[in-house]
């Protein structure tokens, strides 16, 4: 094991550049540990985002040696065998500064895909009994563990090429809600994802499922959405 890492970090806004730092290599060191070391010991003006440090909050995703990853759960030993790290901001999102991107477009598309639960009951009604082994409940599991880290969105070629495309996270969320028996907003949701930037724009490149840190499969969920929206269109339930 080398004792020092050569770490290139993106500095500045859109027209910034990579700057290289020397960081001590340690055992069980994560990429977030490396970024934090630079900020605390070398340059306190470095901007980046994190919160929980244990893979729950989805705040700390960055581009690590060319691939989007959750940095708090990515071990340096796994991605920097030669002792070199290049860490940049997530792609496909506006850059604020250094390693911090503006996540607003990501969550705006989540909203456009009708990613909010549409309740059919009130708090006075009895709690819905959902059997865990029903097909719809199993399908709903597609995105139930999504932490909205934006890794899939940054990895997606279609997002890069088509600014209207809602992206894997928003569409997978829509698939989960479509399979939620308690939800009452499915026609509006199908309508929202059947348009130009909806599920049919997906090319099934599968970068999202390859890089999802939660091992979810957005590609499969989007394929299911294509079938569901096509059926709804043929039945006249939605229009384009």
């Amino acid at each position: 094991m080398t004792t020092e890492l050569s770490v290139s970090l993106w500095r500045g806004a859109q027209h910034g550049r990579y700057e290289t730092y020397r960081v001590p290599q340690r055992q069980s060191q994560t990429v977030l540990d490396v970024v934090t070391f630079v900020q605390r010991h070398i340059d306190p003006t470095l901007s980046y985002r994190f919160a929980c440090r244990v893979g729950v909050c989805g705040s700390c995703a960055m581009t690590v040696n060319g691939k989007p990853r959750w940095t708090c759960r990515t071990h340096v030993a796994k991605v920097a065998g030669d002792g070199k790290l290049e860490i940049g901001p997530l792609e496909n999102l506006p850059l604020i500064k250094d390693l911090a991107t503006d996540m607003q477009p990501f969550f705006e598309k989540w909203r456009q895909a009708k990613g909010a639960f549409a309740p059919t009951q009130t708090r006075n009604d009895p709690i819905a009994q959902i059997k865990p082994d029903t097909p719809s409940r199993k399908a709903a599991a597609a995105a139930i563990e999504c932490i909205n880290c934006g890794v899939c969105y940054a990895a997606c070629d279609t997002v890069r090429w088509n600014t209207e495309y809602l992206g894997p996270a928003a569409l997978t969320r829509a698939w989960t809600l479509l399979n939620d028996e308690r939800d009452g907003g499915n026609i509006a949701r199908l309508q929202a994802i059947a348009g130009a930037g909806g599920c049919h724009a997906c090319h099934s490149h599968q970068s999202c499922q390859e890089l999802c840190p939660q091992a979810l499969n957005p590609t499969a969920a989007i394929a299911a959405l294509k079938r569901r929206t096509a059926a709804a269109y043929l039945k006249g339930e939605i229009k384009v």
Binding site: W161, G195, A196, H200, A230, L234, V240
Partner: protein
């Protein structure tokens, strides 16, 4: 691509799949039997079946290819949607005209 275009593209692909197989089989048959252009034309002249077969083929190709090119232009060029639509309608029409002209040449003359 919206759901309507998606369904048209999938439907035309489903139509083309068996037609391509028959088309390839016809090419193999013609070449393996050493048929000349005159031999082939003598069989296709006045044939409603071949006119319908290749007419359907041309129609499916024109729609399918136009939708595919629309996707490429949408994702790879900065053209506005209306201009993209105009371009691909023109492209589809050109394919249809060229294709139907070829079908007419094989079946009618």
């Amino acid at each position: 691509m919206n759901v309507r275009l998606y369904l048209w593209q999938r439907a035309t692909a489903a139509v083309m799949a068996p037609l391509v197989m028959v088309h390839i089989a016809v090419i193999f048959y013609a070449t393996r039997h050493g048929m000349s252009a005159a031999d082939i034309l003598s069989r296709t002249h006045g044939s409603f079946a071949w006119a319908a077969f290749y007419g359907l083929f041309v129609l499916a190709v024109s729609i399918h290819a136009a939708i595919g090119v629309r996707n490429i232009l949408t994702e790879w060029t900065p053209l506005p949607e209306r201009r993209v639509d105009a371009c691909v309608v023109f492209f589809g029409l050109v394919l249809a005209v060229l294709g139907f002209r070829a079908v007419a040449a094989v079946v009618l003359w």
